[in-house]
């Protein structure tokens, strides 16, 4: 057996180094892919590890804030009450909560039914459904920080939101979402926005969205994902409007009041919530949906659960096929 002397040189055989380097080389992930993964992982990380209010930086800020509280008290006195517009109300609050930071560092915890006003910053610790004063809903994932900068404008500091403004709601000044990569304006739609340090991802599920970015304006239609870098680059690709990526949205769906309403309207609501179109397998199925008036409640049920509950009381059944909910008569 020969004894090997360590000389301090890293390599002693260039052919071995070449062989290993060549055989172990791989195609690196592209920048877009990395940003996409970063955005998704960061969202999960934020949800699982919310920022500590008492970390070193936080303690320093708290100490500083304490030092200026006296000065700010003057601000409270002169603050005109009621000068902030209501942007929306908290419609549902799952695990976690919402910390609200108002003007002059006023800090409180929001509950279901509370109004949220311009000038307030929301730090969301659990999934939240906001009902917007202008109509529609804003679903907010855990770990999101959102500034209500105006009556029709919110600024997404980081995190994940989903705006749903049904086509039936007409507004001359639709809600805008400001991000690091630009302003997002909707044109009667459902879309999701995820923002992190490096990029903003927009997924359009219905209608159209306009991104007014640093490098220009891009309009995206349903089934499109835009990935906008804070440096100005924008890329796009096709995405499915249904499936696991949208489960968090369905879990935050507002309650649908079925009492006295036609089944066909309910099916249309389920269709929007799941991002899958409804297809009637036969004329009878369509007739039943159109002429059945529902009674009872599916409050607290997610769209898919509600669909199963409701159809179980009719002569209809359904099956999922990729982007389609196929409704047919029970044989």
């Amino acid at each position: 057996m020969t004894e090997r002397r360590i000389t301090g040189r890293e390599e002693d055989d260039p052919s071995i180094e070449r062989a290993l380097t060549t055989a172990l080389s791989t195609e690196p992930l592209g920048d877009e892919t990395l940003e996409r993964v970063r955005a998704t992982v960061m969202n999960e990380w934020r949800a699982a590890n919310p920022p500590s209010r008492f970390d070193r930086k936080g303690r320093w800020i708290a100490a500083s804030a304490a030092a200026v509280v006296a000065a700010l008290a003057v601000g409270f006195i002169v603050q005109r009450a009621g000068d902030a517009a209501v942007v929306g109300t908290v419609a549902r609050l799952d695990d976690g909560g919402i910390d609200v930071r108002g003007r002059f560092w006023r800090h409180w915890t929001a509950h279901v039914g509370d109004a949220l006003k311009t000038g307030e910053t929301l730090t969301v610790h659990g999934p939240v459904l906001l009902s917007l004063i202008q109509g529609g809903t804003l679903r907010v994932a855990a770990g999101t920080v959102l500034n209500l900068t105006g009556g029709v404008e919110v600024s997404l500091a980081h995190g994940l939101v989903y705006l749903d403004v049904p086509p039936s709601i007409k507004s001359s000044t639709p809600l805008r979402i400001l991000t690091r990569a630009g302003a997002i304006e909707h044109l009667g739609t459902q879309f999701e926005v995820l923002s992190n340090e490096g990029a903003v991802r927009i997924r359009v599920r219905e209608g159209k969205v306009r991104l007014v970015g640093h490098a220009g304006t891009v309009v995206a239609t349903a089934g499109t994902e835009l990935l906008a870098s804070v440096r100005g680059g924008i890329s796009q690709r096709s995405v499915e409007t249904y499936g696991r990526d949208w489960l968090w949205v369905a879990a935050l769906a507002p309650d649908y009041d079925i009492e006295g309403r036609p089944l066909i309207d309910f099916l249309q609501w389920v269709s929007r919530e799941l991002g899958r179109r409804v297809e009637y397998a036969d004329a009878h199925a369509h007739d039943v949906a159109a002429h059945t008036i529902m009674h009872g409640s599916v409050r607290g049920r997610e769209p898919l659960e509600a669909l199963a509950d409701v159809l179980a009381t009719t002569s209809l059944t359904y099956e999922m096929r990729a982007d389609t909910i196929r409704v047919h008569s029970v044989q």
């Binding site: 062989a19 290993l20 060549t22 055989a23 993964v37 992982v41 999960e44 934020r46 699982a48 590890n49």
Partner: protein, 200 residues
Amino acid sequence: MYEADRVLVSRMRTGEQRAFDEFFNASASRLAAFVSRRSGLDPASVEDIVQNTLIKAVRNLASYRGEAALFTWVTEICRHELADAHRKAVRRPAHDSLDEPDAVAFPVPELWVPEHLEPAAEADAHHRQKAVIRALNDLPERYARALEAKYGDGLSVKEVAALFGLTTVAAQSLLARARDAFRDRWNVESDVVVGVRRDD
């Protein structure tokens, strides 16, 4: 031993953005390479595995005890993800086998040689690559990991030392022994490959 990694994880657990960036920048690309070298997956599937692994890692930071390098801990999660992906692929065969329903073994993910359908001119390179990968798979895991870190991920000796919790001198020694072991195996594998080609 892995104090820097333990501190990084603590910072991540308090929600410090800079800590997350540090973790992601150090892990994501290397993890993608790790997956590519151990599977025949297409880029989209590699992305899925990397994403799922990192999501599980950030959700379970509390379980990291600093007993191994953070990246090593992440790769252990990744091995499970690869195994799951393989298990699902086995459950959904392109063609059902009526002959050997239980014939598909469940392998521990190891370095993988892509199957090439290449022009003959590229066959030599492929055979050489195959010999290298086989030789690596035959090495003790610690040696293979050291060589992969050094030549696959391009880590410096100092970084390899940090990964294995060694001094720089000890890492140099580890790499030297790994190269020696590799050289022996590679020579054997090269002979085997040449023999196969002669038979062709």
